[in-house]
Symmetry: C2
Subunit: 328 residues, 2 copies
Amino acid sequence: MPTSSASPSEGTEAMNTLGDVGEFGLIRRVTADRVQPPSTLLGPGDDSAVVAAPDGRVVACTDVLVEGVHFRLDWSAPDQVGRKAAAANLADIAAMGAVPTALLVGLACPRDTPVEALEGLAEGLWAEAASAGVGVVGGDVASGPAIVLSVTALGSLEGRDAVTRAGAQPGDVVALCGRIGWAAAGLDVLHRGFRSPGAVVNAHRVPEPPYAAGPQAAQAGATSMIDVSDGLLADLAHVAEASGVTIDVSTAALAIPPRLAEVASALGVDPLGWLLTGGDDHALVATFPGAAPEGWTVIGGVSAGDPVVLVDGAPHEGTAGWDHFATS
Amino acid sequence: MPTSSASPSEGTEAMNTLGDVGEFGLIRRVTADRVQPPSTLLGPGDDSAVVAAPDGRVVACTDVLVEGVHFRLDWSAPDQVGRKAAAANLADIAAMGAVPTALLVGLACPRDTPVEALEGLAEGLWAEAASAGVGVVGGDVASGPAIVLSVTALGSLEGRDAVTRAGAQPGDVVALCGRIGWAAAGLDVLHRGFRSPGAVVNAHRVPEPPYAAGPQAAQAGATSMIDVSDGLLADLAHVAEASGVTIDVSTAALAIPPRLAEVASALGVDPLGWLLTGGDDHALVATFPGAAPEGWTVIGGVSAGDPVVLVDGAPHEGTAGWDHFATS
C-alpha cells in the first residue's frame, strides 16, 4: 500500500502499460501456464513459495540490475535483460558449487512501462531459469522511476561443502571455465555507437555462464571459486584477500579469441584489457590442488604471500575492474 | 559491471555518500560485526549465502519498497524504512505458517545518497530481522535513480504443511491476529500534513506483524492464511478466490480502537474504512475449522458460494484496498 496519492489511470484505453493492467494483472500474465520443475513445491500466487532443499541447506544470493546502469533498452531487448538478470544470479549459485533450484524477482518500473516489455523481461527470466532447470517461483512488482530488477536465486549443494572464496592454498592452480572479455568488448562496441559484430554485442546482452561447471569443480575438489562478474583481476582479488594468498595470472595462458582480436584491432585497443578487467561474462574461476578438471583452463597459480593478484609476476597497471561506486 | 560511462567521484572529500565509499565500502560498513544466528551457515561476503533448511524445504518471498511510493524519507527515518521492508517480508513467511530463517537485500539508490541514511536502512533491516531471530545473509547494492529496496525472506515450515490461501472451507471461522487500520490512519494523518499522534504515524512507519502467530495458527489447524498488506477485504478476496468460498466479515466483531476513533473524529472520517481497506499493518488473517486459537479474534465466517467477500452479508461499497496499478 503506497504513500503516494496518485490515482490509477483510466480504464477505457487499451491494456498497453503496467498502469493499465495493474500489478495483479501483470502477475497473472507472466505466471500463467508456466511449468514448474519438481523442486518447486509451491509456486507463485501465495504469500510465499516453497522450494525443495534436499540436503537441509539452501544457497541464496541477490543481484540488482538497474536500467541505464547495467542495461539500456535501446541496446538490449527486454528478454535479453531478463536473461542477463537471471544469469548473473544463477552464476553466483554455480560459483558455490551448487545447482540452482529457483528464482524470485523483485521488479520496480514506471507505470507507463509497456506490458510488452515486461512480458519480454519475464520471458527472458523464464528462459534462462529453464536453461538451468529451475522456475521463477515468486516475486513482486511495484511502480518506480526506472526499471530495477532484483533477482534472488536459490540453490542446492547436493550434500557437498560450499566452495567459498577463502580456501585457495599455496600450490593450487588457478583455472577458468567460460568466456571472459566478450561482454566488455560488446559494451565497448555499443559505447562507440556500433551494433555489431553480433557475437560480442550479444555477449554483453546475454552472458552464457557455464552453470554445470560449478558443481563439477566442487566434485573435482576445487578449494575456492568465484564467478567473474566485475573482471578477472578484481574477482581474483576477492579470492586472494579471503584466502590470504598471492595469485599470479599468466597472460600467456589467456588465449585471445580471434573474434575479440579482430574487434580490438578495429577499435584500436588491446584485447588483453577486456580479458583481465572486463566483467559480466560470468565465467567461473577456481583453484584446484592438482590438475584442473576437463573443460577448465589453467591460467595461473597460487603462492604464499601478500593477498594480491599479480599478472605475469608483477602488479597490473591500470584498474582491476569495476567497483560500482569506487573512488579509485 | 555497468553500461554507463560515468566516472567515479573524486576521492579527496569526506566519505559522506555512497559514491564516496563505493559499493564494497558500503557493504563492509553494514556487514561488519554483525552476529548471525546458528541458521546462517555462511553469511555475507561470498558469491552466495548458505542457510539451514532443516526439513528439506525452504519458504521464500520477495517484496519491493520504492521511495516516494511506499515510503518517504521526510515521513520516515531510514531505520524505519529498513524495519518496514523487513517486516513486510517476514510477515509473508509467517502467513505460510513458517518461521523466518534469513533475509537478503537488493538495494538500488542514487550515488549521492548519504552513507548515514544507508547505514540507517541497514540498522532497521537488522533490527527487524533480529526481532524475528534471523540475520541479513546477503544482498547487492547498485546505483539507481531512487531508493528501491527489494527484500527476500527465507523461512522454515518445521515439518508442517504450508498454510496457503486455498484451503478455506465452508463452516470455517475467519480470525484475525494483529492490528488493522493503524497504518492507514497514520498515512491519512501524514497526507494531511500532520506528524502526530505518534501511535498511528509510527504504525505507518514501522508495522508490528505478529510473526509468532503464523506458526501458531498452522499448529492450531488453520485451513488458510494471508497477511493483510493491501487491506483486509482485498486480502480476504484472495483467500475467497483461491479457496472458492464466500467470506463474510462482521463489522460488529471489528472493535474500533479508541485511539483510531479519536483520530478519525479529528479528521472527520469513518474509522471503519481504515480497518476494512487499510494495508501495511501486516496482521494475519486465517480460517479455522473450529474455534480460533488464543490471541486471535473471530471476525467472520466462511460459506459455500461465489468467491467473494461480503461485509455484514452484503457487498462492500467502495474500494476493497490497494491494487498497485489498478484501473478500477
